[in-house]
Assembly symmetry: C2
Homo-oligomer: 666 residues x 2
């Protein structure tokens, strides 16, 4: 019981610190009316979207909970609702403080970097600490009450369901607004980014928050919980009690490490805020590694090194994949510069280059994930622990420092919006320069988190895959079985199909947005001259409605396909289905994130003056590339992590049922 109390204690501390930081951030002032207005428009847009999203998700959650209640039991149904609620609460808290902190950061930037940076970082930390705190407390309470990892699986499924829809919906929202604003504002009317005359600017800024804060927070909440649950399930199947609760203890260690790591995040006036964030991540990593060694010995695990080494291997793999993930999208590297250079021959070759380098970029990450898996497996076995358990410990190790990682990540959109506030209020050049420096650090943190999130999701789903096999009692998933092969084909088809559906959604919605913006500029007198305020609410409304409506089909696919495959083709085919979806899910997630990032930076490279600079033909080509990349990197790509997690969880949850009633038994 000591372990559970530790986990509850650490989770409680995390939530308490989050509340303290929340009050501190809210106590910071902003005395600019323009900034307050800009910020308040974002707040109300974001709140409107979240309200509608949560209404829709609430109904969905009740329907799914009812389905679970009928087919499984009330405890899992309750746990499912708790998971959705905790994940939603963490996302809401992060978004609430983020949309209020932006103007405060911008105001503090008038007094310099040293004053502004903590406002941004601690606002991000509210999100980071809420996520890990709520996740750990939720899982621990459910386990203490029910003593059954299968029930905690319901919590994870609830968190994942919410994450999938929050992420895909947020992705559709943000790119509808972004592409709409750019196509009409920038291209047709030559307005700058964030020009207040553009009616879609508020929707665009809201989009940054709903996509990158609420979406990313829900996504990592989901992976974090899923990795712990996978270990709990495997621990229960293979060993006993101790191996079930051990990941909760590591969760506690991860929270304490993150809190200690945050103490290292400080920066002076002349320093690089990016370095401060990296120092915090490094400190967290080292403290966590030490704590893992200590904890495994202190609580008297039988084969401590069989747990420690895979955990630390996963932790290091996460860091390495994170830091190397931005190699291909780094503005100083060959791939970006080659792509920018090809813009001189026009748009087509630029698209082809970015597409190809995105595909090439999957190679190092796949090698990294494979290496992490093999190392975790082999070292665990070497010390006498089952390989599958080792792989799932690697996932837990990777995700244990989530508190710090999300804090640094959420900082990004906050300072990005702060820059928008400063520009909307026509602040001094010096203030805007400070905001720019804050923003640059945020972009690096964002790139690292993206790689980290995919790496973590990959190991987590591999652990879930093992947990699925244990849950339904399959010893072998044989690729020589035609049912398994068909399962692999069907599973592999899902991520590209899902990506296509979400991108088509963005295209359809952006089309409507373009027509609305054109209508306001052309038909409402005074808008384009800046005399009449544009009707931002209509644009917010188009993005909101569109995102929710477009979620229906891909959402249903994600939930119903694995269950359908299981019911028709049986549990072995479903195992193949999961494996197929994991493989193409990771490949498409990596390729889309990196191609998108690469086109974005190729455009920035040209905007910095290369190949004729802004306004040149090369720049026009690069703008097209960036627009193509937008839904790749911010809609389709990031949703795939969550898609494969949801499908694995649905399979594990309904697996035992499926095993009994399937139509064909391949």
């Amino acid at each position: 019981m000591f372990w559970e109390v530790s986990a509850l204690g650490a989770g409680g501390v995390s939530i308490a610190v989050a509340l303290y930081l929340y009050r501190w951030v809210m106590s910071q002032t902003n005395e600019s009316k323009e900034m307050a207005e800009f910020s308040s428009a974002i707040q109300s847009g974001a709140a409107a979207y979240l309200r509608r999203l949560f209404q829709a998700l609430g109904i969905l959650a009740l329907v799914v909970a009812a389905a679970i209640l009928i087919t499984l039991d009330w405890r899992t149904a309750l746990s499912y609702l708790a998971g959705s609620t905790c994940s939603g609460a963490a996302a809401y808290a992060g978004m609430y403080v983020a949309t209020r902190a932006n103007a405060k950061v911008a105001w503090a930037a008038r007094s310099g970097l040293k004053k502004a940076f903590p406002v941004g970082f601690y606002a991000g930390a509210v999100m980071g600490l809420s996520v890990v705190g709520l996740a750990l407390v939720g899982m621990t309470v459910l386990y203490v009450v029910f003593r059954d990892p299968e029930v905690v699986l319901g919590f994870s499924f609830g968190a994942s369901s919410l994450a999938l829809l929050a992420k895909a919906g947020g992705g559709i929202y943000t790119k509808t607004a972004d592409i709409g604003a750019d196509l009409v504002g920038k291209v047709e009317f030559n307005l700058a980014e964030d020009d207040p005359r553009n009616p879609a600017v508020i929707a665009d800024n809201v989009g940054d928050n709903v996509g990158d804060i609420a979406g990313m927070g829900a996504d990592i909440f989901d992976s974090y919980v899923a990795s712990v649950v996978a270990v709990m399930l495997l621990g229960a199947a293979l060993y006993g009690e101790k191996y079930v609760v051990f990941p909760l203890l590591l969760g506690a260690a991860g929270i304490l490490s993150s809190l200690i790591g945050m103490l290292f995040v400080r920066t002076g006036e002349g320093n690089d805020p990016g370095r401060a964030l990296n120092t915090g991540t490094m400190a967290t990593t080292i403290v966590f590694a030490a704590m893992t060694v200590g904890a495994a010995h202190a609580v008297g695990m039988d084969r401590p090194w069989g747990l420690i080494v895979p955990t630390i291997a996963g932790l290091l793999a996460g860091i390495v994949i994170g830091f190397t993930s931005d190699y291909f999208t780094d503005i100083d590297n060959k791939s970006v510069q080659d792509t920018a250079n090809s813009a001189r021959t026009g748009t087509a070759i630029l698209i082809l280059q970015g597409f190809s380098y995105g595909l090439v970029s999957i190679v190092p990450s796949i090698l990294g994930i494979s290496a992490a898996m093999v190392v975790a497996w082999v070292t665990a076995q070497h010390f006498g622990i089952a390989g599958t358990y080792g792989v799932s410990m690697a996932a837990v190790g990777m995700l244990s420092i989530t508190g710090m990682i999300i804090s640094a990540d959420a900082y990004g959109p906050i300072v990005d919006n702060a820059k928008g506030c400063a520009e909307a209020a026509s602040e001094s050049e010096e203030t805007i320069r400070v905001c720019d420096r804050l923003d640059a650090a945020g972009n690096t943190a964002k790139a690292i988190t993206k790689g980290f999130a995919i790496g973590a999701a990959a190991l987590t789903v591999l652990a879930l895959f093992a947990a699925y096999a244990e849950t339904v009692g399959i010893d072998v998933i044989d690729l020589r079985n035609p049912g398994v092969v068909v399962g692999v084909f069907l599973g592999a088809m899902m991520p590209p199909f899902f990506s296509a559906l979400t991108i088509l959604s963005v295209g359809r919605n952006a089309f409507k947005m373009v027509e609305e913006i054109r209508r306001q500029f052309n038909e409402v007198p005074g808008v384009i001259e800046g005399k009449v305020k544009p009707d931002s609410d209509r644009c917010v409304d188009i993005a909101t409605r569109g995102a929710l409506r477009e979620l229906v089909l891909p959402g249903m696919l994600a939930f119903l396909t694995p269950v359908g495959v299981g019911l028709v083709l049986g549990k072995n085919a479903l195992g193949g289905f999961l494996a197929g979806s994991i493989v193409t899910g990771i490949i498409f997630a990596l390729f889309m994130a990196n191609s998108g990032g690469l086109w974005d930076n190729a455009k920035k490279f040209i905007e910095d003056g290369a190949h004729g600079g802004p306004g040149s033909e090369a720049h026009k080509a690069a703008v097209v590339g960036d627009t193509v990349g937008d839904p790749f990197k911010d809609t389709a790509g990031p949703s795939l992590n969550t898609l494969i997690t949801v499908m694995c969880l649905a399979a594990s949850l309904f697996g035992p049922l499926i095993a009994k009633v399937s139509l064909f038994g391949f």
Copy 2:
């Protein structure tokens, strides 16, 4: 021995008819000097490319044969060389007659469709009949001499090696020339397609021949042989002699059916030549189905219906996948028209739409392939035949009508070039209209063949995968084994990586081509005015050298990676590797072929007058889409079939060796 004699006899008849048709086509006249000149430039360009390609491939073949000689035995090495030679000879024969028939078709078109159509079709039939004749004779002779399917496997590997490099090299060649010619000629200097002032026009027309005739011929030769070999290997492992030679007998039946089917390919002056081609395909299918039923009973197979039903299931699946494959790329359907419509908002959304519909288009084909596999497996088992043997019979069934399919396919580029000849010679509008009608039929045949080729390759590699497992003696390829999972990841990475390398090659080469064309227009006086003949040879040379140089890296990857994975991670991991590569190989092949075709037709739809027609902003966007799609559909996509076949064959050939010496035994 009666069976082998039948196979040899049918193969001999096929070659004899090909020779007869060759002489008939060559006896057709062309009295236009301009056409003869245009045709002769294509002939010498194509010959120059093939000569250099075969020189390079000859060296490669000797190196690989030496490696086989050292690690395996002299019989397999000899068989490997025979396979390369037969495949190369068929490709060369097809190309030789095609590059000479174009002007003859154009001349005959002056006398009308009824006269011109047979010249084009019989020229294509030379290729179709050479492919099946040489393949069947080659395999049968080797089997009669050595009585060992493992030796025939060497023949298949030789054919595949040649096909991979012919296809990828041809793909790089043709798109280097095409994109170069378009970017400078059409976009910068406003010249028409095939304008003789453009120095890259000859290279572009040569490209059509090397890509679509030599490349496609080698590709289907390769699948045809591989499907038969897979059955032979499985037959030897599971049953006896009869089951080894049965596919050779079906090959003989396929040739006779194709010859009979060709008798139905006739058209009158007012008829649609596309219908004539489809009638021929249908007749071939029906005759072959009847012959299969007869043959299985006549030769006294024990469980005839266990062979007949899977064979016919495969045959029908091939036809269905072929005919439906052009649904997504059909100019009259929603996906093309939606994409064309999105061109009104600019290039970016058009790219996103075509990309997304390409991804959606994989769904029906994957379902079709899965259904064919399950039906073949289940029906075979129902009649008492092993499921794996059933799946491989389905592949043989699909490919047995290859003779007819390739004949119709090779017809396409011939009449396309004929149109080029007619335009170069400024023929009458009536003649050009006849050429247009011939060409339209060719495009449909091409679309059908593309789907057919991917479906056939999918079933073939699934059969090869089963053959691999039998060859190295694996009972189970377990997805719960971490080595297998890592293998799947590495294998799945290969097709996207290979695609990226070939597309980057096209980008690099096209860049050089653009500079050369610009140089000639800007620096050589008289070229742009049409007074001085452009230096086509330099453009041909850039395309040729570039294609060969760029083949080195992807070629090495294809051969060395499976062997490397096997040697390091063991035979189970190599099984996973093959499965992973098959899945993403088919997905990327389908997506790239269909996205490319869709952009192409969206452009044609706009050129036919929609959304402002030629010269509008929408048209410019559609031209970019078409250029992006070019290397998708003609370089990367079509090479993937062959890539996965080569890797499966390499694994089967070196598998027994790998099983003994691998470093880790996962």
